[in-house]
Structure formats: structure tokens, C-alpha cells
Amino acid sequence: MASLKDLAETVHAALRRELDTDVAAARLGVDPARLGIYRGFVHDHVSGILDKLYPYVRAHLGSQIWAELVAAYFREVPARHWELNACGEAFPAWLDARIAAGDGPGVDPFHVALAELEWEQFVVYMHAATVPAGEHLEAPVLNPTLSLLDLAYPVVRFIVDHPEVGDVGPAIPVPAAARRLALLFRRPGTWRVAYYQGSDDLLFALKVVHEQIPLAVAAEAVHQPIAVARAAVDHAIAVGLVLAPPDFAAW
């Protein structure tokens, strides 16, 4: 009789596709077809979660390249965390390394940036922070779920231009590389994740609120009328990047 550890090693090798199903099944004394059910399940959990986390990357690459990538990711990046979504966290960096190694036919650095944004969307959606209502605030604050991403491509623009993932496919050209900041946060009063490209006025508002700089001082520093500075902060409040008390006018 095999020890539990011996049995576990054989099952592990079969699930990781390091051992042929028939060979493993013979060692375990099980029906190869039944062992194959588990092999399929374990692989499909990873492929399913990648499908869920990276719908735009998947759609833009097309089904064949995507399937090849998922199979390679499963082989090379075993799931290490008990939470299923976490097994997709390493995907953008893995994709980047694959391209750098010249092992990514059909894959472009744009897809790395797209994957980075898609992963961050998940992180922001699940962020532990609560987005407070304005009446609970004494001064303007940044949305506590805010995440800033420095991306090598204008990914936010790409998604804004293609709001339905069903409209995305391999025929859509990859945008030109251009480094852009992306701002992601949960929209107040909802659970939806908002994306914004880091425009001058939003980044200005972010700095003003983060550093609690009086508007007049901030306006003077950028040689703009205070009304312009105020408009920038108002825009940030309107989109939910900045949260403000109802009497913000007195700030």
C-alpha cells in the first residue's frame, strides 16, 4: 500500500501535467478517465479565472493565442494562494517576461499594460476601504480606493473607446505606445470601478487634496486663476476621485 505522501505525489504530478494520465492512473489504481476529470477541473479553474479577470486581453488576442497563453501560464505559474482570483495576479508580469524572452508570438507589450489595468480593476473592486459619504467628512479627501497606475500605453482611452468587451477583437489595432497615468477608484455610492486617464486637472486636484494645499496657494503655484483651480477640484469631486463634505465651498 502506498503512503499518503506517495499517493499525493502521483496525484500532484498528474494534475500538474507532469505525468501521463494513464501512468498515474495505473499507479493509483484508478480509472484514467476519472483521473482525467480532475486534471480538467484543476486546469479549468485557472483558465476560468483568467478569462474572468482579463476579458479585454483575451478578446484582443483572440481565442487561439489566449488558449496557448493560458496553457503556458498554468504550466509555469502554479497557483500558490488559497483564494482563486489570486492565481491570476502574476499574469501581467508573466506576460511581460514572456515577451521580453521573445516567447510571445502574437502578444504585444500593449497587452501587458491592458492586463495591468484589468488586474487593478479587480483589486480596486475588492478594496477593503469604505468610500465615505460626504456628510461624514470634515474636509476634502482622496477616494480611499484610489489606485494610480503608470502604464506604457493609453489603455484607459482604449477601453473608453471600446466600452463593450464584445466589440474588441484581434482586428482592432494596438494603440501607439504613450506613457499615461491611469486613475482607478470605486465610484461613491456604487460598487463600480471608475477609470480615468490622468489628465492635468485631475492630477492637479489629486495633489491639492492629498497635500491639503489651500486652493489660492495651489492656483498661484501653477499661475492660474483660482476659478480654474476650483474647477479642477470640482471635476475631481464630480467623478468621485475626491470626496468632499457638503459645505466644501467654505474650504
Binding site: 480532475y38 494562494h81 488559497w82 483564494e83 478594496h127
Partner: protein, 300 residues
């Protein structure tokens, strides 16, 4: 011998057996994202909720907010899939810390996971792999379950998993394997009646005889679910209505246990909350049939 421990025929004492001192919470469903916005208008349809522990241990956001709301409205029990109690290595301490914190946060009366392994050698399979029915596995799992229960401070239930392969090294029958583990661990049993049906189909045994061979006095909770019948195998999908044969098997079980906290599990192709309520009503009706069958023996 306490007559409540009898396993041949309906229970013979005059009161419903105490399920390891745990209350009967009634009939519930799993808290799923598909119902985050609709559950609250149908709260009266369910008596308690179960959460998949891992879906709430690591996250904030809407899941956590919904859990807090649910915990203010319903009793909550925890059900895990990643404990890997039968793994070569002991359960992950980081996992246990988060699990125990969640148990405290929702004041769960008990928590459960599957009699299986779901990770080994540092790799998570995110699936439930069967253990061999051996003395070595009994010793390993019973010791861990006992320790886990002591550390958690609330009862731990082991679920009989569905399984598609039986190892040649399995020297024991499944019911004996289950019994030995829960009795040595002094823990509870989460009896998944659909799993019994699926396993009976896949491994060719009598599901009623199997249930009668279990330590039914340790059944603290029951799971009900749907499955998928393929040409060569029945798959436990949690993605379809509970079939009549499984409802009958459940009634058969209730006739022997008395009322038990019962959950409708639905994880794929999740229907509307109205359908969940209607399916739960079918389970209530089956429980009533079972109670009627067993009433002569356990009703005061």
C-alpha cells in the same frame, strides 16, 4: 447505547436528536454575488445563510459590505473549500488566521470544509481531491480536525465530498472512513445528500444503506444541490435543481435524524432569488415528508 445513535431505521427516541448541541437553523442558501441586490426583498424566504469562507476572507468592497448586512439579518455559517485537511502538510497558518477572524466577525455557530485535499507541495488545486480510505488518512485528518475545532472555539463539520475515483489502496468502505474520522475527531458531519447520490451512481452503491451506516447523530448540517448526468459519470455541479430522487433521499435522511439545518447549494448558472426560494420550498416540503415518516419515533 443511546438510542439516538441507532442507524438502522428511523430514530427511536422521543425528541429530535441534539446535533452536537447545535440548533436547527432551518433552511438557507449560500450568499452569492448573483443575489447581492435581490436577496433582501426575499429575506423571509430563508432562515440562514452560508458563505464560502474564501470568498469573504480576503476581500473588502461589495462582498464584505453584503456580508455585514447579511450577518445583521441572518445567522451565518461558514463553508470552506481550501482548508485541505487531508494535505501532506498541515493547513496553512495564514489561512487559518483569516478563517478564525471571519468566524468571530460573523459569530458563526460552526464552520465546515470537505474531507479531501485541495493543495499539496505548495500548489493550490482549487478542487477537492479524494483521500484514500485508509487508517493513515483517518489518523491524519482526525487529529487535524480535533485541533482545528479546539482552536476555532466553535464546532467543525466535515463534509462527505463527491468523488470520481476510488484508489486501489482504499481498504475501508466510505461510510466507515467517515465515521472513524468524525468520531475520533469528535467533530460534526455536514452530510451532502446530493454527494451521496452522485457517489452512489458513480461507485455503484445503495445510497440509503450508505446513509444508514453513517453516524447520523453527528449530522449538524445538510447540503442539497443539483448535478449533471453524463454518459459515463455523474458530476456534482451545483448548477441545476435538486432532482426528485435526491429530495426523496433527503426525506429518508430526515426521517432518521429529525430536523437538521439544511442548505440549498447553487454555484453555477445561479438562478434568480425567486427560483432559489421556490427550490428551497421543495426542500422544506421534503423535510416535512421526512419528519412525518420519522415523527412517530422522535416527536414528543
Amino acid at each position: 447505547m443511546d438510542p439516538s445513535h441507532a442507524t438502522t431505521g428511523p430514530v427511536s427516541h422521543r425528541e429530535p436528536p441534539r446535533r452536537l448541541g447545535q440548533p436547527n437553523l432551518g433552511f438557507g442558501i449560500g450568499l452569492r454575488g448573483a443575489h447581492f441586490d435581490t436577496l433582501w426583498d426575499h429575506a423571509e424566504s430563508f432562515d440562514f445563510l452560508e458563505i464560502l469562507s474564501e470568498n469573504f476572507m480576503a476581500f473588502g468592497g461589495k462582498p464584505r459590505a453584503m456580508l455585514e448586512r447579511a450577518a445583521a439579518t441572518f445567522p451565518i455559517v461558514l463553508h470552506g473549500v481550501s482548508l485541505s485537511i487531508g494535505g501532506v502538510a498541515p493547513p496553512d497558518e495564514g489561512y487559518l488566521r483569516e478563517l478564525f477572524a471571519l468566524i468571530r466577525a460573523v459569530r458563526a455557530p460552526w464552520f465546515s470544509d470537505h474531507l479531501c485535499f485541495s493543495s499539496n507541495f505548495g500548489v493550490e488545486y482549487h478542487d477537492l481531491l479524494p483521500l484514500p480510505f485508509t487508517e493513515e488518512a483517518i489518523e491524519l485528518v482526525a487529529g487535524r480536525a480535533r485541533e482545528l475545532q479546539e482552536r476555532a472555539g466553535v464546532p467543525f463539520l466535515l463534509e462527505n465530498p463527491s468523488y470520481y475515483m476510488r484508489y486501489a489502496d482504499s481498504a475501508l468502505d466510505e461510510a466507515t472512513f467517515l465515521r472513524e474520522i468524525v468520531e475520533r475527531a469528535d467533530c460534526g458531519l455536514l452530510l451532502d445528500v446530493n454527494n451521496v447520490w452522485v457517489n452512489a451512481c458513480n461507485h455503484g452503491y445503495d445510497p440509503r444503506a450508505f446513509i444508514e451506516a453513517l453516524p447520523l447523530e453527528r449530522v449538524v448540517q445538510i447540503h442539497m444541490a443539483g448535478h449533471l448526468v453524463l454518459p459515463d459519470v455523474v458530476i456534482d455541479t451545483h448548477g441545476a435543481p435538486v432532482i426528485d430522487e435526491v429530495l426523496d433521499l433527503y426525506a429518508f435522511t430526515i426521517a432518521r435524524t429529525g430536523p437538521v439545518t439544511t442548505l440549498l447549494e447553487w454555484d453555477h448558472d445561479i438562478p434568480t432569488i425567486e427560483v432559489m426560494a421556490a427550490e428551497t420550498d421543495k426542500i422544506r416540503a421534503a423535510a416535512a415528508r421526512g419528519a412525518e415518516q420519522g415523527a412517530a419515533s422522535w416527536r414528543p
